[in-house]
Symmetry: C2
Subunit: 262 residues, 2 copies
């Protein structure tokens, strides 16, 4: 937890490096999980495309165009190239199966794409919201654990994650909303209400991220994605929620700052 707090405190290039590492180790673990059921996405394509996506951060913003939009444009171009290269990976029909191409595409548009939003949040004028991502992801998990421990009766997803209860989920969402609100109240008071909403929506997204990772792990026949952090599994076991929350928080910030202009 301590290194995470340091990364969030410094932000900027420190956060960028941390997010890049999460994305790289994340795709590695995800691809390795597929290997376990004899599906072989291209790790090499995933690594190269992950680095390329993160490098778009250093394209200087033009004077007339808001940085947000330039990020989006570069991300869209990246998305097209990533999908196209993933599909092209399937051309070697004698060596590869159609799954191998589809899972290469999925690995890229899931892990690096989602994770990259952490660095996008950090570049907005509301960079403190990066803390809300972590509060929503870990807060909802911790509050759900304790609420479920004391009050849990009804199983939420018996096949997928047998320990989770509906009572726990509700407690997790209430806890993360209040915690996010408190953070907002202390550090950016005019945004406290927004933080409350993000604690709720982000908490739900975090649970979705957790269940998604659980579903893949079960189908891949593995308990954990890795063992990088002793006792905590791999990067994807720890950050499965965080990477799902980051895009939600980022696009809410976009709506707030009016640049969505809907």
């Amino acid at each position: 937890m301590a290194p995470l707090l340091v990364v969030l405190y410094f932000g900027g290039i420190v956060l960028w490096i941390a997010a890049l590492l999460i994305a790289l180790v994340g795709v590695h673990e995800f691809c390795k999980g597929w290997n376990n059921i004899d599906v072989h996405p291209s790790k090499e394509i995933c690594y190269v495309m992950t680095v390329l996506l993160f490098l778009t951060r250093f394209v200087p913003a033009s004077g007339s165009v808001p940085a947000y939009y330039q990020n989006m444009m570069l991300m869209a171009i990246w998305m097209f190239i990533a999908v196209a290269i993933g599909l092209i990976y399937g051309w070697k029909i004698n060596e590869r199966r159609a799954y191998d191409a589809a899972t290469t595409v999925t690995a890229m548009v899931y892990i690096p794409f989602f994770t990259y939003h952490m660095t996008l949040i950090d570049r907005t004028e509301y960079r403190l919201f990066i803390w809300i991502v972590v509060i929503a992801a870990f807060g909802s998990d911790i509050f759900a654990y304790f609420t479920g421990y004391f009050l849990g009766k009804h199983k939420m997803a018996p096949n997928l994650s047998p320990k989770k209860t509906i009572e726990g989920a509700v407690g997790g969402l209430i806890g993360s909303s209040l915690f996010a609100w408190l953070f907002g109240f202390i550090f950016m008071r005019e945004m406290a209400a927004v933080c409350l909403v993000l604690g709720l929506v982000g908490g739900a997204a975090g649970m979705a991220g957790d269940l998604t990772a659980s579903a893949f792990k079960r189908k891949m026949g593995i308990k954990d994605y890795g063992n990088l952090i002793p006792g905590h599994g791999g990067i994807m076991d720890r950050f499965d929620s965080v990477i799902f929350v980051a895009p939600v928080v980022y696009y809410v910030i976009c709506a707030l700052t009016g640049i969505l202009a809907v």
Copy 2:
């Protein structure tokens, strides 16, 4: 061919409807192809997300923000939601396999996402470039056929597409470049050089789209994606190149008009 010319001539909402239909029938055929090898992406999710992507066209542009950028922002949000929902489809671990989620994601970020760029091109100030998409996709194919017929000696991709030759590919690229240049010279003279380049790059992208569709069809054990157009196969058999060329042309236009600001 005639209905296609009418669609390109009118552009606007006519092109939007045509592109939406291509995307909808395209994902349908792609999912059906997967069914053939017992993989079951969610057609329903693909349909709904395709319609949602195309509906972003009707979000009014704000005064201060260029329409291009707003499109990109909405597309990025769509991309996140599409990937997330595709992954969530895998939660029902007792009924579905991990492939089913990955192929649902792949279907969406491949077919509707690529196809949507046709409508984006139509909304720029260089809407005539939509013709270049078709010229590059079909022109390279036709010129490759005739060049290969008369001069073809060296097989290009014997397993994937046994009739294609290297001589044919070179002839196809030269032909589509010259044809695109001629179109530019007649209809938008100051852009003739750009058209030449797009004929070359777009022609190559079209061949990549064709080979990608071939690879999937072979792995799926089908000859054609469908039989919608008698004697021509399905929509994906006809438009596999077009949907690969559209993003390439769109992003080159973006670079041209300076909005990439790199």
